[in-house]
Structure formats: C-alpha cells, structure tokens
Amino acid sequence: MAAPLINIKEVSYEYEQTKALDHISMAVEEGDFLAILGPNGSGKSTLLKIMLGLIRPSEGSVELFGVDSRQFKHREWIGYVSQKSNSFNSAFPATVQEVVAGGLAKKAGLFHKLPKNTAQQVEEALNAVGMKSFKNRSISELSGGQQQRVFIARALVAKPKVLILDEPTVGIDVQNVQAFYDMLAALNRERNITLVLVTHDVDTVTDRISHVACLNQTIHFHGFKDQLHMMSDEEREAWYGHSVRKIHHTEGSHTHA
C-alpha cells in the first residue's frame, strides 16, 4: 500500500507556553478532499503551516510522500494557497501571467531560468480556474474571488499532487463562494489533485468534500464526511467548546455551530 501523501504523527505545537496543538495524528491519502474544521484559535492554520514546513512542531513529525518533511525535496508537489488578506501585497505591479509564472520558480530550480514553455503552462493553469482571459490584467485590478482563482492557478502551474488551502474564501463575495468550491471539487475529481482545506464555510463545503477533520487543539473526529453524524453531542461540544446544533438534511448530515 502506498504511503499517505501527508502523515502527521503525534504532532504538538506550543506557542509562548500555550499549547496550540496536542498530539495530533492524521493521514491524508491520495485523492482525498479533506476539510479541517474548528472554531477560531483551534490550531487549524498552525496545523497547515506545520504540514507545509513553515513552522516546526514542538513534538512529533510530519511525513510528506513517505519522507520526513525536513528531508523532503519535492516541494513543487505541494501547492499552497494562503488566506488572501494575510500574505500578498495587494498593490503589487504585476500581471496575472507574471504572478502565475512565479509558481514555477521552485520547479525550475535555483540558478535556472523559467522553462521556455512557461507561457503555455501558465495559460493551461489559468484555463483550469476559468481565468485565461485575464492573463494580461494587473493582479491588483481583480476582485477577491478572481485573485484567489489566480493564486490557485499559481499553485496548479507546477502540477502539484496536493493542494493546501488556508481559508481561501476569505474576502470572496458570498455568491461566488459556491462557484469557487465547485471549481475545487472539479480539480479534485478531474485532475485527481488531493485537497486539504481549512475553512469556516461548513455548509457550502460539506457537499463537495470526501473527508472531515474536526480540530480543536486535538483531533475530535477524522474520517469520511458521511460518518460525521456518528459524533456524539458530547464529542461535538468538546470539539467546538460550546453546544453545537446538528441539522439533518436529506443527503448526509451538516453541522452548524
């Protein structure tokens, strides 16, 4: 059996003597569409940052594609889309095409120029997220939703096997959130890209994902989304820190805090 793409083993993380994560163990298999859910401050983004190697766990380890993350060399296999508002410089003077081409920097390697077919690869990636016609536009002129699509294209251009997204719909209009998740589901289904997502959009995302992880310092549930209803009320309360109402829909079960 192939090793999980991401294997988190007994990971704990302390920040200024506060425990953000406590002995987390979890595996992400090829083809999963995993949503990590939890209240604010539950350690969701910290866990993603540990997966990406941006921060080191205080205890435990992470394996990427069967290799310890510290020794893992193929970072281009993992695409990353951060919270829009957090990281990029919104007034940056660059075209969509230039931004997406930046996604090939690691794959091309240090001391090497971008490949000759960069323009074609960029166009393909933009096409996958429905943004091909925007390639010559300035990134700062686009709406929040369009910018996030461009950042997904930047992650896709290096043809990653896993895409990790940290609250990607922050700053996107409510009416565009559905279309955004549809696009992610299509990437997972049609291109077999494994997706790991931190989000608060529980209602919108539940229909599209395959797996759920309920996190609040520890893992309270991790498994197929259809098994989520098996969590007891006590477990739900322990996860979310207060009473959580469970609403049953005709297909699957959705959880509302």
Binding site: G53, E76, N89, P93, E98, L104, S138
Partner: protein, 284 residues
C-alpha cells in the same frame, strides 16, 4: 558638454558612474519599494555616513590610512548595517520596524561623533552628503562598476525567486524557496548599491534615487517587467539631467538629480490625472 566630457577625466568619471547608478539604483529600488523596505535604504545610507566620516577621520589621524578611499569603509559599514538590521528584526519579531530607527540613529550618532572629532573635512563631507561632479575619481568609478556587476549578476540569477519573495513571502517559503538566504543576499546587495550610489547622489539623497523613479514607473507600468524598465529609464533621465545641470550651475548633483526625478513624477501624475478624467468624460 560632450567636449567637456571628452576633455576632463573627472567628468568622464562622474558621467560614467552616474550612468551606472542610474541603472542599478532604480533596478534594485523596484524590489525595495514593492517589498516596502524603502526606509531600510534610508537607514543604510545613514550607516554609510558613519563609515565615510570614520574613514575621513582615520585618514587624518592615522598616516598609513591617509590614502584610503572612504568608499571602502562606507561599503563595509553599510553591509554591516544591513546585517544588524536583520539581526534586530529577528530579536524584535513583533516590532520588526524598530530595527530601522535604531540603526538609522546609530548611523547618525557615530557619523556625528567622527565629524566632530575631525575638523576640517567639511568640503569632502559636503560631497558625500549631497553628491559631487568634480571629486569622482577613477577608483570610485571602478568601485561603482564592480558593484554594478554584482547587482546585475544577483538580479539575473535570482530574478524569479526575488519576484515571488516580493509578491508573497509566505508563499515563497511554503514553496520551498530559500527565502531567508535570498533576503540576506538582497540586503547585502542593497547595502552595496547605497554605498556605491552615494558618491554621485550623496548619502542624504541616495534612497530617493531608489524610490522616486520606481514610484513614477508604478503609475504607468502595466507589468512588473515594465515597472523595472520604466524605473531605469526615469532613473537615467534624472541622473543625466541632474549631472548636466549640476555641472553648468555649479550645484550639488544629488539635489539636481532628485529634483529632476520629482519633476518627472509630477509630470506623470498630471498625465495620469488628465487621461483618467478624459476616460471618465468619454464614459459619461
């Protein structure tokens, strides 16, 4: 003017150095501006002042150092300043910007001490503060040319990494780029450009040659590469116009270069305003 340049070596030195820094200062300046590091350029230029003043003082008081080119100590202190800024930024993780006023005041502090210790180099110092046309030596030109080779090689080799790092540093680190090392090298190269540009533009105005042409280019450029080319173009126009004006009217070239670059900025801002109001008028 051309006759004068051909006849006098000092003019050849000044114009050749000017042409070189007209390329490298705005080129690196694009990355400094988009990474919001403009104030670091100011801090480093003041640290360079400390090195220059220290060197001028040493050359007066230590006979063996009488012929030492002050640029060397200027470069050394600027590079050291860039490393100290990085160190302080990691010490004050939540108040990273504190590193800039600390280093800037340290630069001025040491500079003031050396200037008061050594009386009598006021004319030299004036040249270092506001630039000079007449005192650029052949050795200065070679130093500037050497710095330009380093800068151009650095940008050529790490262009794609610098672009990603400037646009989104978290993404750069997450995608496995050696962001920390590239940033460290970037700071050293910035220190070199500041020290190298100082002979023509002057310590107090060097950061403006790295930022004003970029600020102008950003108003009209449609892409990152266009921002770079336009910044260099505006930088070159400012340096050449500034040097010619400084030569004919016997003015400090730092002042004339910066005032020219401000004039270009104002023209571009006015052009943008007029073209935007025309567009709005057409749409209404």
């Amino acid at each position: 003017m051309l006759d004068a340049i051909l006849s006098y070596e000092f003019l050849q030195n000044a114009f050749a150095s000017g042409l070189i820094i007209g390329v490298i200062a705005p080129l690196l300046g694009v990355f400094i501006v988009v990474r919001r590091l403009s104030l670091i350029a100011d801090a480093l230029s003041h640290v360079t002042l400390a090195g220059i003043a220290g060197s001028l003082y040493l050359s007066q008081s230590v006979g063996a150092l009488a012929l030492l080119n002050p640029l060397y100590l200027g470069i050394a202190s600027s590079v050291m300043g860039s490393m100290l800024i990085e160190r302080l930024r990691s010490v004050y993780k939540h108040y990273e910007e504190l590193a800039i006023p600390i280093i800037l005041s340290a630069g001025i502090g040491f500079g003031a001490i050396f200037i008061s210790l050594a009386e009598g180099f006021s004319s030299d110092l004036f040249g270092y503060l506001f630039g000079t046309v007449s005192a650029v030596s052949r050795q200065d030109l070679f130093i500037v040319a050497g710095i330009a080779v380093i800068v151009l090689a650095f940008i050529r080799i790490f262009f794609k990494e610098l672009f990603v790092l400037s646009f989104d540093d978290e993404y750069a680190r997450a995608s496995g780029l050696p962001a920390k090392w590239i940033h460290f090298l970037f700071m050293i190269v910035t220190a070199l450009v500041i020290a190298g540009s100082m002979r023509i533009v002057g310590i107090l105005l060097v950061s403006s040659l790295m930022t004003i042409p970029v600020a102008t280019a950003m108003r009209v450029a449609k892409s990152f590469k266009q921002t770079i080319w336009l910044s260099i173009l505006f930088g070159e126009i400012s340096v050449l116009t500034g040097l010619v004006t400084a030569f004919y009217f016997d003015l400090a070239p730092g002042g004339t270069i910066v005032v020219t670059s401000i004039a270009i900025l104002l023209v571009i801002l006015a052009y943008r305003k007029i073209s935007l109001s025309k567009k709005r008028g057409a749409a209404a």
